[in-house]
């Protein structure tokens, strides 16, 4: 392993152990489909709304605006 990455060994070994024990699968996803992208940097409008939809943050079908009092009166 490269000298620069030697101190990340613990993280590497942890993940590798998990993979070898058949606990998890690590796979590559192209940056374009990386959903966690919007949690690490500010994005452009189109990309942001695209990822927001993928996360499941979408307009609510039910209107929850306004208090109960408004509805009664």
């Amino acid at each position: 392993m490269h000298t620069r990455s030697k101190h990340i060994e613990i993280d590497v070994h942890y993940i590798r152990d998990q993979v070898l024990q058949n606990e998890i699968v690590v796979a590559y996803v192209p940056s374009a489909n990386q959903i966690a992208d919007c949690l690490t940097k500010a994005l452009t409008h189109t990309r942001f709304s695209q990822l927001r939809d993928k996360l499941g943050v979408t307009p609510s079908p039910i209107n929850l605006k306004g208090g109960i009092k408004d509805k009664i009166s």
Binding site: S5, D11, Q18, I24, A27, V29, A36, A42, G56
Partner: protein, 188 residues
């Protein structure tokens, strides 16, 4: 919105401008109480609106001595929320309960200390069940290193979620998959 006198402002499409760098330098706010109250309220909101998680977390780092620029950042988030006030996190029913995680890191983006931002999200079926957006505690010397840290965090989160599901007597149809966008990480 009413409290911060923002109920009649025009809305913004995103919570933060692309490429915007916030630093500790700049003209300090006279009264940081308002800033702190806003951050507190927004943090509560992250529970259901994780789309603002990154921007709120970013500004949260300047809680001790906020500047006018940081306040502008808060106003931008509020304006974004103004336009997307009806949005919320949807929990969808799905027959396939696969556990899937995404992890990403943005290397050395913090201008003041060069620490990296890490983001992760865990889906159970089609529903998002866990997420985080935070600054890593250690300075990473390469992007692979920061990606690895993020991936290890995600792996622990996945392991925890899995043990919780096991306790609920819910077995997963397939092995949990961790998605990562760094090829060097996968090569090791």
């Amino acid at each position: 919105m009413r409290k911060f006198k923002m109920e009649n402002t025009s809305s913004c499409p995103t919570p933060m401008i692309t490429g915007k760098q916030f630093t500790t330098e700049g003209e300090k706010l006279q009264d940081p109480t308002m800033f702190r109250q806003a951050i507190g309220a927004l943090q509560y909101l992250i529970n259901t609106r994780l789309d603002i998680a990154f921007s709120v977390n970013k500004l949260n780092q300047f809680m001790s001595s906020p500047t006018i620029d940081h306040w502008r950042g808060i106003k931008r988030i509020l304006r974004y929320l103004q336009g997307t006030i009806q949005h919320c996190l949807h929990i969808k029913p799905s027959t396939d309960l696969d556990l899937v995680g995404f992890s990403d890191a943005d290397w050395a983006t913090s201008v003041d200390d060069r620490k990296s931002m890490a983001g992760q999200c865990v889906f159970l079926g089609e529903t998002l069940v866990s997420w985080s957006s935070r600054k890593q505690k250690v300075v990473s010397r390469s992007s692979t290193e920061s990606e690895y840290r993020a991936l290890a965090d995600l792996a622990t989160e996945i392991t925890w979620t899995r043990s919780l599901l096991a306790e609920l007597k819910l077995s997963l149809p397939r092995k949990p998959t961790l998605w990562c966008d760094n090829l060097r990480v996968l090569r090791h």
